[in-house]
Amino acid sequence: MNHISDEDLALLVPGEEPGAATGAHLAGCPDCRSRRAALERMVALVSSAERVPERGPAYGRDVWARVSATLPESRRSGWPAFLAPGRLAFAGILALVLVATFLAGRFWRVPQATPLSAGVRERILVVALGEHLERSQAVLIEIVNAPREGGLDVTSEQERANELLADNRLYRQTASRGGASSVTPVLEELERLLLDVARGPSQLTPEDLASLRQRIEEKGVLFKVRVIGANLRERGELPGPPTLERKRT
């Protein structure tokens, strides 16, 4: 009987199904099971001795605050210039103008007779998108920071997600037409999450919450939204993010 080699044994992780041949061998070979058990004891020893200190729910926000504080002033060159006029295709510019005009009418009272310059339109869009991302971020943070035990009433988050959805769709389409390849996927991911929050149950079970939280964390949506929001804030000189308060049930 060929036993499992030390090399193969060293790769076996508790809880993970080994290959069919390895599994069959382990089932019938006490020696190899014993060697595997010794390996698992060693890993358990390392894992228990190196217990990771807990981090609170606000940890991500704290890290981001520290990172934001250390960002150099001259980092604009790293930004793909989603709204830089030189990089926008004609269709993008057209879409930009349409959206900016729409948003200008929505957020500010602009006299009809006064035409908006391209610079003003761009700035309006930057500010509006920045605000949209801040609001979206607030919804996601409340979900991510919700207590691990117990359910969560997300009625108010659902209402906000519903409002954000329409705006997000508009920004995503604009970004896509403008060729903003870095921004578009983030807005797509954000839209899927907002949709799930808006259309999902208003009372989330711990399992629903864990699943939603996992999706947010796995895709790094919050991080991406923060990066783009920070860039827009710098570009549009927006105020910093507001203090976010969590709602618990």
Partner: protein
């Protein structure tokens, strides 16, 4: 997730915090180059693991140069920051903790990364290869070397448990 890996790689809360901050700073700077089709998790893991490896190497170089300067009594394991067991823990627990810390310190940074990702994070070999920008077979060998070293170092405790 990033803090957990950083802590397991460095064995120090303070160093892990530095790694987390540096990782997110680097991620922010290189975000424009992030390919949206690839996994964000793998990308951020890669940055964090590389930051941790760099930090471990810097620490080792500093320790080596401090020994060259005549500070021969300085044991690299003794000098591990914030890893000492709390005074209320029993002696055996303290001894195990110190032995595990010492054993992990004796792994190369790459071996430690491969071991942590495979056995403590449960990551598939292909993903580890992507994080470490290596080939799966090379990763398997690295994990194997790490496991062999740890088994040798920790044999007295594993046998007793």
């Amino acid at each position: 997730m990033v803090f957990r890996v950083a802590y397991r790689m460095t064995g120090s809360e303070e160093d892990a915090e530095d790694v987390v901050q540096e990782s997110f700073l680097k991620a922010h700077r290189s975000f424009a180059r992030f390919d949206a089709r690839s996994s964000f998790g793998t990308w951020i893991y890669r940055i964090a693991v590389n930051c941790a490896i760099d930090l471990i190497r810097r620490r080792r170089q500093a320790a080596a140069s401090s020994r060259r300067m005549g500070d021969d009594d300085l044991d690299p394991v003794e000098s591990l920051p914030s890893n000492s067991p709390p005074p209320d823990r029993d002696a055996l627990s303290g001894q195990i903790h110190r032995s595990v810390a010492a054993a992990l310190t004796r792994l190369s940074p790459l071996e430690r990364a491969a071991f942590v990702l495979r056995h403590l994070e449960g990551m598939p070999i292909e993903s580890i290869a992507s994080v470490l920008q290596s080939r799966p077979n090379a990763v398997k060998q690295t994990v194997f070397r790490a496991v062999q070293k740890l088994r040798r170092e920790l044999a007295p405790f594993v046998g007793a448990t």
